[in-house]
């Protein structure tokens, strides 16, 4: 599964994109964030305020309870600020 990080999530994790094998017990966006926090201090810090972090599955906005099975690309980012 390809994971992408944008804006301050990219800065805090130090990662823009990675291909990673997600454990089988991780089934939703929220669970994925919880699991990512366990990957080290940078990830724990980046996902500390997980309630404000938004996600997209295959380039479509996804809620925390969205299932990740079958996803090719999951992105994490802060609330958007364009326009």
């Amino acid at each position: 599964m390809r994971l992408l990080y944008f804006a301050w999530l990219k800065e805090k994790t130090g990662v823009a994109a990675e291909d990673i094998a997600v454990p089988g017990h991780v089934s939703t966006v929220a669970e994925l964030m919880t699991w990512l926090k366990t990957r080290g201090p940078e990830f724990a810090h980046a996902f500390e305020r997980s309630e404000v972090i938004r996600a997209a599955i295959d380039q479509t906005h996804a809620r925390p309870d969205a299932k990740i099975a079958g996803a090719r690309e999951i992105a994490f980012f802060p609330p958007v600020t364009g326009g």
Partner: protein, 153 residues
Amino acid sequence: MIRVQTEDFDIGAETTALKEGRTDIGAVVSFTGTVRDTDGTVSEMTLEHYPGMTEKELERIEQEAHARWPLQASLIVHRVGTLKPGDNIVLVVTASAHRDAAFEAAKFVMDALKTSAPFWKRESGPEGSHWVEAKARDESAAARWHPGKTAAE
């Protein structure tokens, strides 16, 4: 039509191109968003985005505008990269037979874009740089168009 680009845009030229050869348009509304520095704290603004999803979201927003209002034509142009105060950021043009549809559709597109198109602004100034925080009033402006739904839906 939607475009994401680093270069500037010419509002007059874009509007002229949109109307070219058409006689069924009676109202053209354009909105331009520019880099603001009201108190000398912003010397640069850098816009990051999510290539691929950005274009998909802008196209989805444009399609929704066309589904909701009788629009003859529309254009969304959003810049990315590093900009300076006064520079153009975003252009929305909506064209319709009558003004109400064009005005309302332009506001809808901007409200939707502000809360769902994956762009992030980072401001730099004499005191360092920071990511711009999303505003609650943008969420409530966007939610107004979808009564009964929450902003993230």
